[in-house]
């Protein structure tokens, strides 16, 4: 990395992983610039009335002074009374779109004298640096790591992108109206899985960031930024922010015994109730930071001499998803919603040793009908007796 910031470094000892430092907004600009030398720097910015993740090169692109007002089926940006840069929760994007892209060419094939040959697609040429990763999103990345790297067959493209990524996390100072990370034990404090984590400290006369170091690479980068050691007051301010965010969760989900509850409720009458509202549009799966399902499309050019296989995000809410010759296994909306929530909150635990939900609330916010995963889970829990009956008998 270039060393243009070295001259303004303060005289403190080199940062270590245990160190807590404080940097200014200007240093955040220096951080972006330093990362840009080696990485494609991605961070939150305002576009089309939402805060999305895009390439950024300048601090001014970050959503300073904006907050997001979220509820079931509702998302609005509003002006804040301060200039907080990270004073929002999460938008429709997640970092999944970079590590597990919505469209990815897996390989290309070409006809030749022996029939045809296949060449794997070239990997992503640039490494990613993520700015502003929330605790729930760190957990979502860790969950997708288990899916794509932890299985007997690793996704080599994902693994390469993931290993190269530099992560600057942010502790949430605002809980969104649909947030429930406290229930899922995935936040609001970022505890690991980052190179650096920022806590935005705003006051009458200050706009600083407390920085905790999560890796040697993070320590090295911090060392090249102007910084000072954090005071006890700075550390106390961070703790107060996290405690306040934890207390303001917009939603809650009872997770005790949720796996057994959902796995024993395939015939619950609530599935028909939710299906009467669900459009099976798949929005929840597209905004979910852990939903990993994909389909593949095989294309050939007009000559028929070259072909490729493209992988695309897919949704368990489509009829096609479960199609086998003769028809789809999950024809009804109730069976598709049941599949999604049972997978997310229960089967995931059997498959990957963790819940598939991080409590980010995106599926609630971005559902056009405002269907609420916490409300549906609570409805199953409130009336488990109906699980024994129901109209879906075997044979």
């Amino acid at each position: 990395m270039p060393d243009e910031t070295a001259s303004v470094q303060t005289a403190t000892a080199p940062p270590s992983k245990a160190m807590k430092a404080v940097i200014s907004c200007d240093a955040l600009q220096a951080l972006i610039a330093a990362l840009a030398a080696d990485y494609l720097v991605l961070g939150p910015t305002v576009r089309d009335g939402a805060i999305v993740y895009e390439e950024i090169s300048d601090l001014s692109q970050l959503p300073a002074g904006w907050k997001d007002k979220q509820d079931a089926g509702k998302y609005r940006l509003e002006r804040r009374e301060d200039d907080a840069i990270f004073g929002f929760a999460v938008g429709p994007h997640s970092w999944k779109r970079f590590l597990h892209p919505p469209v990815e060419t897996l390989w290309t094939g070409r006809r030749d004298n022996d029939g045809f040959s296949i060449a794997p697609a070239a990997g992503e040429p640039r490494k990613f640096a993520f700015i502003g990763v929330r605790s729930c999103e760190l957990h979502a990345i860790a969950i997708q790591d288990k899916v794509f790297i932890g299985s007997p067959y690793a996704d080599v493209g994902y693994r390469a992108r993931r290993q190269d990524a530099f992560i600057v996390a942010v502790n949430c100072a605002e809980a969104g109206g649909t947030c429930f990370c406290a229930s899922m034990e995935t936040g609001p404090e970022a505890k690991n899985g980052f190179d650096l984590v920022l806590t935005e400290l705003l006051g009458e006369a200050r706009h600083d960031f407390l920085v905790d170091v999560g890796s040697d690479a993070g320590a090295a980068l911090l060392g090249r930024l102007p910084h000072r050691s954090a005071s006890d007051a700075d550390v106390a301010a961070k703790a107060a922010i996290i405690a306040q965010t934890r207390a303001r969760m917009g939603r809650a989900l009872e997770t005790d015994g949720i796996k057994e509850l959902l796995q024993s409720s395939p015939n619950h009458q609530r599935w028909d109730d939710v299906a009467a509202r669900c459009l099976t549009c798949g929005n929840c799966t597209m905004v979910c930071p852990t939903c990993f399902c994909t389909t593949v499309e095989d294309h050939s050019d007009l000559t028929g001499n070259t072909a490729e296989r493209v992988r695309k995000w897919d949704s368990c809410f489509t009829l096609d998803f479960s199609y086998i010759h003769g028809g789809s296994v999950r024809e009804t909306g109730s069976s598709r919603y049941r599949q999604w929530i049972t997978h997310k909150l229960a089967n995931w635990i059997d498959q990957f040793g963790t819940s598939g939900c991080v409590g980010c609330g995106r599926c609630i916010t971005w559902c056009p009908l405002g269907i609420d995963i916490t409300e549906e889970a609570a409805a199953i829990r409130a009336n488990p007796m109906t699980a024994a009956g129901g109209q879906h008998e075997g044979t």
Binding site: I118, P120, P152, Y153, F292, C293, D314, V329, D350, E393
Partner: protein, 289 residues
Amino acid sequence: MFTESAEMARMPPAASGDPFVPRIYCVDRIRRELSDTVTLEITPSQGPRPRYAPGQFNMLYAFGVGEVAISISGDCADDRTFVHTVRDVGAASRAITSLDVGAAIGVRGPFGTAWPVTDAEGSDIVIVAGGLGLAPLRPAIYHVLANRSRYGRIAILFGTRHPQDMLYRDELAAWRRNLDISVEVTVDHADRDWRGNVGVVPALIARASFDPHDTVALVCGPEIMMRFAVNALRDAGVAPDHIHLSMERNMKCAIGLCGHCQFGPQFVCKDGPVMRFDRIASLFAVREI
């Protein structure tokens, strides 16, 4: 979850590297089985054919058209070819059934769990197949016949819709002439010339000769047929953990990453396709799971 026995262990393909990238094979022989069904023998263009176990499957790719999961239906003792019986039911399978000898075909695999033919040694074997479900069972049949002395009684119970769409007709007749095994065939709809059983295949189970307390049942066919076959096996006294089914679900990746083949917490591609009934009994009773 399904790894305690040697056969149930997941067997990664011999070729390392990117599991998304097919290897190129060449179609060596084609046998037309039925009007819409062919059996292909394919060999790798380069290198050895990976090892496989009875019950495993490959992803077969027709250039520019698509990929489809097809069980391996050959004899494991042959280490040169993969044998696949393919029915034309969609764009990819149509392209594959239309290939000529000498054509190239893409292959990923083998994938999935296997029939427990080694664990079943010493027991009676009941093989229950419906229609094309005989194809994934044929490697198990070859294995138990080649190692006949290691097993007790062997019953092959096969059901098909009509006499004219009977898969592996010549082989069934040959197995039937073997006095050391019992082969029963039934058809849903008989024609004028049919002299055999009429009805669904689970009805053959009650009449088959086996020791229910020491029997391993291998079942493959349409899900509704397997449901009734399991009921008949249970009625006959076969324990749920001695019944093995080969499941079918939509598959895109075959390596547990695409999510399509989920059957409750299981991925049919890697926790299956061969699954022990007691482990999926609760799911098996649920519609649209």
